[in-house]
């Protein structure tokens, strides 16, 4: 019997998104996950990113099932299905007027890039749950790392794990090199028995003229160890209730800004 992501999340766990949230702003983490505070709105970036993500997943699921690229409408249907779900939410979407047009443009550039040569897809949104080992003490933490691999494809004699992202602009070399999501994927893939996998970032840029940028990258043992150090460090800080605010330009897009300002 296959365990679903929802079932994996039922136990004490942490996700890479949660770790990233803490690293961006510990206080935002506190509001969102510890206190379970209701957000003031849903950021448009979150809606667009999630909906496009679903569009891409729908494309790859179809490729996995048929071996061929589906019509672009498969992506669009998944995109709009997700969007409708967000629109039905009682919370408003902040700055959400242009989401449909932006999403259409991103899906179009994605589809045009991939449809002629669909990959050999072996997994889409592959759920995982793994132990978290403290790399210093060797102890296994109470929390498990839970998430899903966006995409797993087979190329020649190895698997390649892909991450989909939408971003305002092209990522820098350092961003690609140090993205902890990809470090997690490398670690997870090995634990899932996929062996030494390749890593691929598929970035859709929300620039005036949207682009799809594909970057192949890798992680070393040291990167994996540092990723675990980060995860363990964040979990220890959460346990010690370290929730300080970080003020920067991202505050105006934060869904807890009023609450935070009045704290």
């Amino acid at each position: 019997m296959t365990t679903t992501l929802a079932e994996m999340r039922d136990g004490l766990h942490v996700s890479v998104s949660q770790i990233k949230c803490y690293l961006r702003c510990p206080r935002q983490y506190q509001f969102r996950y510890v206190l379970g505070a209701e957000p003031e709105f849903i950021p448009a970036n979150l809606v667009l990113g999630s909906a496009v993500h679903e569009g891409l997943a729908a494309y790859y699921r179809s490729v996995m099932a048929t071996g061929d690229s589906p019509e672009q409408d498969v992506c669009r249907a998944a995109f709009y299905g997700t969007l409708v779900g967000f629109r039905k939410n009682k919370l408003p979407i902040k700055d959400g007027e242009g989401i449909e047009a932006q999403g259409e443009a991103l899906l179009k550039v994605f589809y045009e890039t991939v449809y002629e040569d669909p990959p050999n897809v072996v997994g889409v949104e592959v759920p995982f749950t793994i132990d978290i080992n403290d790399p210093v003490s060797g102890e296994i933490l109470e929390e498990r790392l839970v998430g899903a691999l966006d995409l797993v494809v087979r190329e020649e004699n190895k698997h390649v794990v892909g991450e989909h992202k939408t971003a305002a602009k092209k990522w820098s070399r350092a961003q690609i090199k140090y993205d902890i999501q990809l470090s997690a994927y490398k670690l997870v893939a090995r634990k899932l028995g996929l062996g030494e996998v390749g890593l691929r970032l598929q970035l859709l840029t929300k620039t005036k003229k949207p682009k799809m940028i594909v970057e192949n990258t890798d992680r070393t043992d040291r990167d994996e160890r540092e990723f675990l150090e980060t995860v363990v460090g964040v979990l220890r800080a959460i346990d010690a209730q370290v929730f300080f605010p970080i003020r920067n330009g991202m505050c105006c897009g934060c869904a807890f800004q009023l609450r935070c300002s009045s704290t």
């Binding site: 004490l12 206190l35 210093v136 060797g138 102890e139 043992d221 040291r222 160890r225």
Partner: protein
């Protein structure tokens, strides 16, 4: 963990159980055979414990293992190692099975140390079995001496609830046909945090309270909580 169990675990080994061997650097090292660690686990947990091998690798001439020890709801991991013993020709492997058993025993001892057993023997981080390799990096990545390796800072004991406590809360609520959303809401109301961020003490309170909330109550209330919403 009960105080008396902790006392059993932390009780130093009797002097007559301690054996000695020469270390790689010529110093005398103290060790206690693994059977005495096993006996101590039996005594502390009344035979209700287990351990499993979670990883085994052969790196050059060394066997590296990772074992997981589970007892009283706690999980401790130990990394163990042993050198592959070869014959006089320096080629023939004499008994790989024995070498692996030695590595597993080393891993179990190290996991036991995290429970407090035999910690007096590790005061200087010595190895404790013949043929045992020097302590490898905890995750087997051998970066312990890398420029990024910083000494671990002393850590306060964990406050947050355990995985077993979270599961217990959810299981008891399910058995009592309580709406999970109501239980979550009530916990948030009473403690100001989501159930996953209760402290151990708070989680114990919730478990005790839920346990006393028999389904026959009808209104789903007990103590200070209104579990049925």
């Amino acid at each position: 963990m009960k105080k008396e169990i902790i006392q059993i675990l932390k009780r130093p080994f009797a002097q007559e159980l301690i054996r000695h061997r020469q270390g790689h650097d010529g110093k005398q090292l103290d060790y206690v055979p693994v059977q005495h660690y096993v006996d101590r686990l039996h005594e502390a947990f009344d035979h209700d414990w287990s351990f499993e091998l979670t990883r085994r690798e052969i790196l050059g001439d060394q066997i590296l293992v990772e074992v997981r020890l589970t007892a009283a709801g706690l999980i401790k991991t130990g990394i163990g190692g042993a050198a592959i013993t070869r014959g006089e020709d320096n080629k023939t492997v004499l008994s790989l099975a024995d070498d692996i058993k030695m590595a597993e025993a080393d891993g179990l001892k190290r996991a036991c140390r995290l429970l407090g057993i035999g910690s007096e023997l590790y005061a200087s981080e010595q190895d404790d079995g013949s043929g045992v390799i020097s302590s490898p990096a905890a995750n087997g990545n051998h970066h312990q001496d890398g420029p990024h390796s910083l000494p671990p800072s002393p850590l306060p004991p964990r406050e947050r609830l355990t995985s077993a406590q979270l599961n217990a809360i959810k299981t008891i609520a399910r058995k009592q046909n309580l709406d999970p959303a109501n239980v979550r809401r009530q916990i948030k109301k009473d403690y100001g945090v989501e159930v996953e961020y209760l402290t151990k003490r708070q989680a114990s309170e919730v478990i005790t309270d839920l346990d006393g909330n028999k389904p026959s109550n009808g209104n789903g209330t007990n103590g200070n909580h209104a579990w049925a919403g």
